[in-house]
């Protein structure tokens, strides 16, 4: 089982977003960057599949600035075999990113291509199905359960209030959701081993984007709220306010 996992380096979810002067980017000062949380499920799934099969490899691919190498090392420490960094500034256009990933993936003969369901920075949530379209492969998104027997796959994907069951054949593209597995932490041994694993870096030129970022702004500050009162005694006033002032009941 040869697997490819595409990952992204993103600001940690605990980041307090501050905008850089000019209002078109995040102020990077004090921001802690992490491996995109949904990508951890993709990595864990790939590593497990190869461990269970006893044969095969896990290749991690990331597109991003040079610092993205840190996230790739983390993936290698978790158990991936080799890593590729496509050095580029990224693009607001998911199709441009998907095309760059596709041209790296094409010809590698992967059985399974895994990605997190979305990156928690731009929240674009579109690269996995776009990648599948470009490669002409089956695609299942937001997957919380994946069974593979030979080349036959059954996946459960999260929908409103339940799940959809999908069947498809490998090779395929699968985007992963929390619940699929419990990602491992890199061990000290894994971290040491990662230093000796291959990490190839190359510059890539991205196509022009068909959608561009004009500006970023902070969301409107919530109106100052008020404490209605303390304990059960304040319940009736709360209900009255919800009805007569907020008009939501």
């Amino acid at each position: 089982m040869n697997t490819i996992v595409c990952i992204k380096r993103v600001p940690d979810s605990a980041t307090r977003v501050k905008l850089a002067p000019g209002g078109a980017a995040l102020d990077p000062a004090g921001v802690k960057y992490v491996l995109n949380p949904y990508d951890e499920f993709a990595l864990e799934e790939a590593i497990r599949r190869v461990e269970q099969a006893g044969t095969g490899s896990v290749t991690v691919i990331a597109l991003g600035p040079p610092e993205t190498a840190e996230s790739l090392r983390q993936a290698l420490a978790m158990g991936a075999d080799e890593a590729v960094l496509l050095r580029a500034d990224g693009s607001p256009d998911g199709l441009v990113v998907a095309r760059a990933l596709a041209s790296e993936i094409e010809g590698r003969g992967a059985d399974l291509i895994l990605l997190g369901k979305q990156a928690i920075d731009d929240d674009n949530m579109q690269v996995p199905p776009m990648l599948a379209e470009i490669l002409g492969l089956p695609c299942a998104t937001v997957v919380v359960e994946l069974d593979i027997e030979g080349s036959r796959c059954t996946a459960r994907r999260e929908i409103e209030g339940g799940h959809e069951v999908l069947e498809f054949d490998l090779p395929a593209v699968v985007s992963t959701q929390k619940g699929l597995n419990e990602p491992r932490y890199p061990t000290l041994k894994g971290i040491m081993a990662a230093k000796r694993k291959p990490l190839v870096e190359k510059d890539v030129a991205l196509e022009d984007a068909s959608i561009t970022l004009v500006s970023l702004e902070e969301p409107p500050a919530p109106a100052a709220g008020r404490i209605v009162g303390e304990g059960p005694a304040a319940v009736s006033e709360l209900v009255t306010l919800l009805r007569e002032e907020a008009k939501v009941l």
Binding site: Q126, P138, E160, L166, K178, V235, V248
Partner: protein, 330 residues
Amino acid sequence: MADVLAYAELRGGAVGKPAREAVGTARAMADRTGGAVHAVVLGPPGTNAAAGALAAAGADRIVVGEDDRLALYQPDTATAVLAAVAGQAGYAAILFAATAQGKDLAPRVAARLGSALATEVIGWSLDGGVITVKRPVYAGKAIATMRFERPPAVMTLRANVFSYEPRAGDGVVEPIEVPSHEHRVRVTAVELGERDRLDVAEATIVVSGGRGMQGPEHWHLLTNLVDSLGDEATLGASRAVVDAGWRPHGEQVGQTGKTVSPDLYFAVGISGAIQHLAGMRTAKTIVAINRDADAPIFGVADYGLVGDLFEILPPLADAIRRLRQEADPG
């Protein structure tokens, strides 16, 4: 004079909010471009019965694809039909609701068309034929303004953000042949939870519980509050309680869960971590119930109640029930 295309997703074979919000927004856009609204609806034979409701939501032309295999959503067939329809005309925009289905389908269609896609759009403007949208990034900690450099502007629309005006008028119904090519992926079943409750991303009222609930065995207090609020209400949860295994991930609100914009949001026993606030701060009215008066959640709440939630929840549900009965004795 560019037309606008909307994908009308059916729920249980019927036109619901996702279809109305997509078609209604397409109507508002087409009224600006001076074009017409075309809607695509897919389903098993008999789906053309949805045409009236789609015309009422604003569709001028309703393209209906009927096939037994479309009793369930089939991503590859839907992609092929939409790409075929989109290829017939130069649409200014192609709209989807940002549902599980819309989020799965829109990127496939955009890639097939070679177009850019903006997801979870919360606002749009049209200037000299150029469409600019607003959408939340960093789970809503910032709002991005993005400009489509060329049509069509393919987008998914966040639930509960866009309104629609019912209108009189008949749309023209036009059947379309459903391509019979092999599916790459086959959806074989849909398994819905035992409860007939709305998804947290779609409900107009959300009652979320956090660690202050002290354990999954106390969730009946929140379920009772949800029930008192009627069919439009549903349960949510903080990341802490999902990570602890008290609640399923599908209920999680926040940066690694769902971002919600209901009319009314109750945060019960939730302190208000940044990643949670990011997921619910766009709720129109926020009520926080917490024993710690300094909890960050009170900073974003319209109405705060300080105290023991175990003492507050039962009388709160009773009071809401009484109020709703008085308002609607039938």
